[in-house]
Amino acid sequence: MNDLDCSEFVELVTAFLDDALDADGKRRFVDHLALCEGCTRYLHQFRQTIRALGDLPVEQLPPEARDTLLAAFRDPRG
């Protein structure tokens, strides 16, 4: 008997996604996933969360700052 509990599974998701589990840990993780709808959903929502994070809007450097930096690059002592 080496099935993971759901409460253990949820703590391993990032390690699994980083491919940082050892062979045995990975097998237990995947075996549990195959049998547990709740954890399948949890993993899916974790991935959706990561996607949402990657989707955040970009802020931009103000043009004046860019101009100042270009001037500084041309003349580092100025």
Partner: protein
């Protein structure tokens, strides 16, 4: 966009004061630097100043770059150090050492009450499965989701926020983040996992609230 030249070529061009090379880096990296700077300081204006100070330090320090990390990692490290000094003056930051996980970063990331206890029929298993979320195709929610994620990020402890910003918002790998922040891969993973679980929890609460709202609206109209 043109593929980036390798680091040694870029560094040589910067040392020769090749403005085109500097502009290329400035335009490619400033947005990411600005977002990361926002993890450390309280206003967009301060963050822009941190990015500006970072580039000034790069201009001054490029002669000293030894190539022991990638150029980009080196620039990001300068940003982290600049932001921390700045944040210290603004009294919103913590010492460098506290980018390490603390005891409060250990422990369950999901409320233990959601799993069966020792006396239950399925100890350690979900009492109730997490509720399903709307599919990402339902774009009507996209703006609101971004706002929720932004709010959740702001509520994280700095050490977790910096890691999740680099990993998930900026898309760096585990090795690069460990190198930029000078923490072990295992430690950055502890912080990342806790931060992700927190953001997931916030989205779960949001979807639950929206779901209830939709249901009650349906009741009213039916």
């Amino acid at each position: 966009m043109q593929p980036f030249p390798p680091d040694d070529v870029l560094v040589a061009r910067l040392r020769e004061r090749d403005e085109a090379a500097f502009v290329m880096l400035l335009d490619a990296w400033s947005d990411g630097l600005l977002r990361l700077a926002r993890s450390f300081v309280s206003t967009t204006d301060s963050a822009a100043e941190v990015v500006q100070d970072t580039w000034l330090a790069v201009i001054q320090g490029i002669e000293k770059f030894e190539g022991r990390s990638s150029l980009k990692t080196w620039v990001y490290r300068i940003l982290v150090n600049t932001a921390k000094r700045r944040g210290g003056r603004e009294a919103r930051t913590v010492p460098w050492s506290s980018l390490l996980p603390t005891p409060e970063d250990e422990g369950p990331t999901v409320d233990p009450a959601r799993f069966g206890g020792p006396g239950d029929p399925y100890p350690g298993h979900w009492r109730e499965f997490p509720a399903p979320w709307p599919s990402p195709e339902q774009q009507a929610l996209a703006g609101e989701i971004r706002a929720q994620v932004g709010t959740a990020l702001a509520q994280l402890p700095e050490r977790q926020r910096v890691v999740i910003m680099l990993r998930d918002v900026e898309g760096y790998g585990s090795d690069e983040v460990s190198s930029i922040l000078d923490i072990s891969a295992a430690n950055q993973r502890v912080l990342l996992h806790r931060a992700r679980a927190f953001v997931r929890g916030r989205l779960e609460e949001y979807y639950a609230a929206v779901g209830q709202h939709v249901e009650s609206a349906t009741e009213v109209t039916s």
